[in-house]
Symmetry: C5
Subunit: 155 residues, 5 copies
């Protein structure tokens, strides 16, 4: 039985981890889920690595909300670098779902982006685990999470 790790933060302004868990369990009730909440995005890399190495997760989804200050952008960059390093160290996918606090023009939009991105990436995680053909068929088709898909060009 496959096990999916969900790492999220107390800093984020919406329960994206909970939404990801519900999305996964509805689509695949047979999958086990392991949750881990940390203070902020910079705490996510080691949390994800521990989910993989200590909790034996087959894949992880890491959800967070970078703040709107310049310094927050730098922190997010560091977190993302760490998440990539954790993947390389474990040969395991960690799908990063970051919604920037200033991505939406208001709270309603921000909530909508969180919903869309977290749920779509939860399904991407399932495809990576169970159905890589589904990703392959959409290669180069302009898929977006958190906004409308882009136009595909023929090359």
């Amino acid at each position: 039985m496959k096990k999916i790790g969900i790492a999220d933060t107390m800093f984020a302004r919406g329960d994206m981890g909970g939404l990801a868990e519900r999305t996964i369990k509805e689509a695949r009730p047979d999958v086990r889920v392991e949750r881990f909440t940390v203070p902020g995005v910079k705490d996510l890399p080691v949390a994800c690595k521990k989910l993989i190495e200590e909790k034996e997760c087959d894949i992880v989804i890491a959800l967070g909300m970078p703040g709107k200050e310049d310094i927050d952008k730098v922190c997010t960059h560091e977190a993302s670098q760490g998440i990539i390093q954790a993947q390389l160290a474990t040969n395991t996918h960690i799908i990063e779902v970051f919604v920037h606090e200033d991505e939406g023009r208001n709270d309603r939009e921000l909530a909508e982006i969180m919903r869309d991105r977290a749920s779509k990436h939860a399904l991407n995680v399932l495809d990576l685990l169970f159905n890589q053909d589904s990703l392959r068929k959409r290669a180069g088709t302009g898929q977006r999470q958190g906004s409308k898909n882009a136009k595909k060009l023929n090359i």
Copy 2:
């Protein structure tokens, strides 16, 4: 018995390491604390890794104060990257508590931010060690250290 490492710097303009130690010992008198002071934030990554690997700390709190010049911002970025790498190398949490010298509008505000952030993160460290459910219950609720919490959005 759990052991918490506290790494701090001579550069910082307030004794955040001492405050973190007092906060931890008041809340959990049974916990052992190991201190390590280095010149500046760039010396923290290896100090934290040594606290974990040579002093057998179960978790570390790294406290520092980035200066206000542009070059200080770059140094801080390097320090933060190193702290994340030290975590990944040890599968151990290092909670970074950085208060930028220019975060406060004056010395009084700067001191208040140091106090708030260092003490709150000292308690986060205890939760990561002893009570992860406490973090989990606050997932996605807009928790802040050094300022007021943000508004939680329902998604």
Copy 3:
């Protein structure tokens, strides 16, 4: 028999992975190709490393399309760093083929850049595998992918 990994993304607005595969198979029908599609560029580093270590690819070509927002530039930087780290960890070349969404002035130009860069780099991959002398002879000659070659200077 040599095996080439092709890692691409659903985010890209053109099927560069498919074009790379066709280019390789036309030039060298004897080569095996292994495909892997992931959501976006930040998922490429571990995908490439898995192609090398789990699918035993001798070389990988990683194709993606960074978006046009500032945040996309940062993500791309993280992806590229990860791709270099994956190469160093495996002593294996991963040729990165990134076409920025804002490189072309319109969709027609963007498609043309994708075509040119993906097909030329597919041939570079073959040269790295089978004919390093071909690269050596062009050392310092201003070769470009996605635009015209630059002028060679005698030194």
Copy 4:
């Protein structure tokens, strides 16, 4: 007997490595010193790691002078990241003493900053080796190298 590595560059406009060596030998004539000079700051990370792993130094001081161009700032950032990685790989402190060529308003000021920073950090290196309590007592007291100390705030 302890051994201190001194890595410096031909690029720097003052003999900070020589000054560090004199400072160390005056304060602790019993300590052995191993010198290594490289072209520029980007050559320092591996030089430091070799001093630690091949020359068995217990600690290293790395002295360099970043140039004043934008590109020099980027090189310095890369050097500093490498120095932190070398520390993490060896669990050994490398104290970085960089004086930016544009830190002083004129040559006299630049020389003074080099003198102050190199000699103070040479003493910090000795404290890290022999007297960590001395650092601990100054935790959070606004110590500076290359300029006057900052004001300590009570928190």
Copy 5:
């Protein structure tokens, strides 16, 4: 007998690799040289590591020409980080010789910078291999490659 690796690119607009090889062979006809040409600077890190680990080079010189666009600056930064990581992973020097396409005001100047920097660094490589005292004697003397030396200050 010592072996020097020369890694260069097809992207560069002048044959700096060839010039480095000639410079080395004139000065030290007894040294063996191993060449490796890759498409661009981002392919250099793994090329250098392979020269060290698979071709048993004792030191490597990596020559490349970053383009003039902003995106080229980012690629170069990634390449340089990778080159430092390759050095740390192998405890072997890789002397980076990058000449930015926009360093010269015209093609004549650009060619002159390539000539000066590539040949001087080829000699630095020999000094690192055979005559470290020569570097040591020039510590802190303002040595430059690609331009005139800077003024040495007494400290």
